[in-house]
């Protein structure tokens, strides 16, 4: 199965003319000097060619709807079709972001209630929905931390502490906020090294960014102590909500002592990942950070919902998007949360955790090495294949690629960086035991193959639309756009 480029279908003069406005008079009032001289090289294709091309392309993807997708840290759970259907009602799609409140009460009611529900499940005091992804929420969070210190005249605090296991966006976001990043170690059991933390905090500490459960797939047990240390040093605690799914309904970041958090609604609240996005990275804060939240926020005056903006929140860190962020994603998260309701929330944590611990137990029994064998898994866990790499020359990457041949998307590979040859496996609560068993069988099968026929694993995948791709060449001989060949 191959599919040529859309440009290869193109013929001068062809087009999906039905989609074009019939009446399109020349804009004679626009001076020639400001006009385009030659047309852009967009394809000239029929509607059928377009539909067929992109339908065929879609079939080249693995996705939740077609495959088990245990991509650690990404929470690839089922995206209910209802969320899409009802977020795409014609009126919602047509609503202009700057429509007056008279024509927005239905939409704003959803957003207000979403804010309220997110506050409740996280234990935070106020929420802004505007960040457009996790990293965007991190930016907002660190910016609020900075604004908080600044507002108190505490100008020196520009250091953000980050455990070495942290996701790359954490340090990158801190940098985006003009902070200096201090990485600290984690212990052999996966918890933050308390001594290292103590050594790291000081008068310049703006805050610490933590994921809990961490990206190592374990719960940070001494979180209360961490909070005490950081708070005592005058810093604030930032919670990276990427792993909220693990603890939904079990424990709340607000109760752990976090001052500011982001949630990845595209993970925990099951909005689609869309081949890379969009996400939504709503932020929640404790009372003392509430004045700094990014705008707009939805407020309620009596029975009327309205936008809160600069005038209402003069200390806000400001706007993060042209309008209010990824509204359509927020609608999907709202629908999902209402579908789950109070009861459903804690079942998410229960079963995400059950699935991960089951897989971990079974894989350990099958001889795989857990990175943290003494620990409970959270909603995900790490297997290290360093022995296989050393003894058989079969790496985590090889396992990952071979899993594709078995009809499973690979777990996250080589992250977190501190565990060698690792697979970070996150099954999510929406997968059945049958699927987990089949995945474990595939791992066992590949393990046997790695012993008996290592080249076959190293040469994987064998059944995908392409064999293993040359990444080095991709980066060296840059080919980033198709270019029309001369006439």
């Amino acid at each position: 199965m191959r599919e040529k480029l859309i440009f290869d279908y193109s013929h001068p003069g062809r087009g999906a003319t039905d989609q074009w406005p019939t009446h399109a008079p020349e804009p004679t009032d626009i001076p020639q000097a400001l006009r385009r001289k030659s047309a852009p090289a967009l394809p000239e294709v029929s509607e059928l060619e377009t539909v067929r091309h992109f339908t065929r392309l879609s079939q080249l993807n693995f996705s939740i709807d077609t495959h088990f997708y245990p991509l650690g840290s990404c929470t690839m759970k089922y995206n209910p079709k209802a969320c899409n259907q009802y977020a795409m009602l014609p009126e919602f799609l047509a609503r202009h972001p700057l429509a007056p409140e008279s024509h927005s009460q239905g939409f704003l009611a959803c957003m207000f209630e979403l804010q309220e529900m997110l506050k409740e499940v996280t234990g935070m005091q106020a929420v802004s929905l505007t960040p457009m992804a996790g990293a965007h929420g991190e930016f907002a969070g660190v910016a609020m931390i900075r604004a908080y210190h600044r507002a108190r005249g505490d100008l020196a605090r520009n250091e953000i502490i980050v455990p070495e296991a942290a996701h790359g966006t954490n340090p990158a976001s801190a940098t985006m906020c003009g902070c200096v990043v201090k990485e600290i170690a984690v212990n052999a059991d996966g918890d933050v090294d308390i001594e290292a933390l103590k050594a790291a905090v000081g008068p310049n500490t703006a805050g610490i960014m933590l994921t809990n459960p961490s990206t190592l797939g374990v719960f940070e047990r001494r979180i209360e102590e961490v909070a005490r240390i950081v708070h005592k040093a005058g810093g604030l605690l930032y919670y990276d909500g990427a792993n909220l799914n693990a603890i939904l309904g079990k424990v709340r970041p607000g109760d752990m002592g976090f001052d500011v958090i982001h949630m990845n609604l595209h993970k925990t609240f099951s909005t689609p990942h869309g081949g890379g996005g969009p996400g939504a990275g709503a932020v929640g804060v404790s009372a003392r950070l509430a004045p700094f939240l990014p705008i707009p926020i939805v407020g309620k005056d009596g029975e009327t919902y309205r936008w809160l903006s600069e005038a209402d929140l003069p200390q806000s860190i400001g706007r993060l998007s042209a309008f209010m962020g990824n509204a359509g994603v927020l609608l999907r998260a709202y629908i999902y949360m209402r579908l789950l309701g109070r009861e459903g929330m804690s079942q998410v944590g229960d079963f995400a955790t059950l699935n991960a611990n089951y897989m971990l137990a079974r894989l350990k029994q099958a001889g795989f090495e857990a990175a943290y064998p003494e620990r409970r898994a959270s909603h995900e866990f790490i297997i290290t294949l360093k022995k296989q790499a050393r003894e058989l020359g079969v790496t985590a990457m090889d396992f990952a690629k071979r899993l594709l041949d078995h009809g499973f998307h690979a777990p996250t590979t080589y992250f977190p960086l501190l565990v060698p040859e690792c697979l970070l496996i996150e099954p999510t609560e929406t997968e059945s035991k049958d699927v987990l068993d089949a995945f474990i069988d595939a791992m066992v099968h590949i393990q046997r193959e790695a012993t008996e026929e290592p080249e076959h694993v190293q040469g994987a995948p064998h059944t995908m639309p392409v064999r293993r791709l040359d990444d080095v060449r991709a980066a060296k001989q840059l080919d980033l756009t198709w270019k029309p060949t001369g006439p």
């Binding site: 992109f54 939740i64 890379g276 804690s346 971990l360 929406t430």
Partner: protein, 457 residues
Amino acid sequence: MAFIPHTEEDIAAMLAAIGVERIEQLFDEIPASLRVKSLAGVPPAMNEMEIGRLMSARARQDGRPLCFIGAGAYEHHIPAAVWAITTRGEFYSAYTPYQAEASQGTLQLLYEYQSMMASLTGMPVSNASLYDGASAVAEASLMAVRVNRKSKSQRILVPTTMHPHYRRVAIAAASNQGLRFEELPYSASDGRTIVEALAKYDGQDVTAIALQQPNFFGVLEDVDAITDWAHARGILVIAVVNPTSLALLKPPGEWGTKGADIAVGDGQPLGVPLSSGGPYFGFITTRMENVRQMPGRIVGRTVDVTGKEGFTLTLQAREQHIRRAKATSNICTNQGLLVTAATIYMSLMGAQGLRRVAAASHANTRELVTALTRIKGVRTAFTTPCFHESVLLLDRPVAPVLKSLAAQGVLGGFNLTEHYPELGQALLVCATETKTSADIETYARALTEAMKSAIAA
């Protein structure tokens, strides 16, 4: 249990394999004092039928008013094929194509997108998306600082005629890193940035200038003159553009003698519904020599071990998951699904279709302006050439007029008085290709009514 497939039997077998008796025990590492007591603030579950009713009622509540607001979000016709394909599970429920071999659909689509976007902006390379147009201006400013190594000032000039929200987002996003944004004045008589006012910066260290075309008023700036002025002084040029307009207007790559250095904008007009402001997507394109300073994902074409062509994420060493604190940006999840829609949209439209959309929208706005300025007390603010959006001046307060229009089911435009008080009672209006002459008539009738009931200023 909503979306949870576990049977009692499954649970028992799984607990046994783990060696615990109850799921509860799996949380025994969490300090007991921290455990959630209740989530009373979350309402009880609804089933799908119930939420369907609720959402339908909420949607109906907001209705389908006739919308003449633009101001950065434009109601264009979206072919049915666009979202029918975009929402296919294989696109909708996949993630970032980390496993290239199992993600060739998304990857090839992104490569096609990059090619189209590069060509549309007249630049050699594109990334795979940013969050939105406003945040793209911030990213472009940060990128300009990295690219323009000679400049140490981190000063970015931004015309007052740029979308006020874009300006605010750029400040919120980039000032923490020390960037300073300075506003360039415009002429209240023609709605354009005053080219002569740039003289003030001659001899100063300026990193970049960001220029929106058409500007927030819909007015066309003298991009050639400003670009050449900037380049002559080692100042980078960031073009902020509406992609629809590029079917008609000179692309950033051809601004002035050398072309702009970075082009950004919001991709919403390319097949993305208004949807209360998002999800949209930001685009960014640049010169080849700047590619390693670009933020965000980039897809490249390569070959597999058998020499067969394929696609993969590339230049990842720029990104947060490799470079961490030193990455070009913190962006990770982007707006992939919207890029999917835009790529399908651009394929259906082609250059010719997109040009017709631009021309029709422009003509409709002209028709609208003609119809509305026939009403007593309504006149145009500027006579400068513009594209598909226009500023009207009323002889009475805009706010109550808009309110009266809304009550008649017409969203009459964007009230400029807050952001541009110096213009007086100014209103930004837009009629895209989706508006008919009858719609314009409806607006005109409603406005006649609204002007009557509002008190003259």
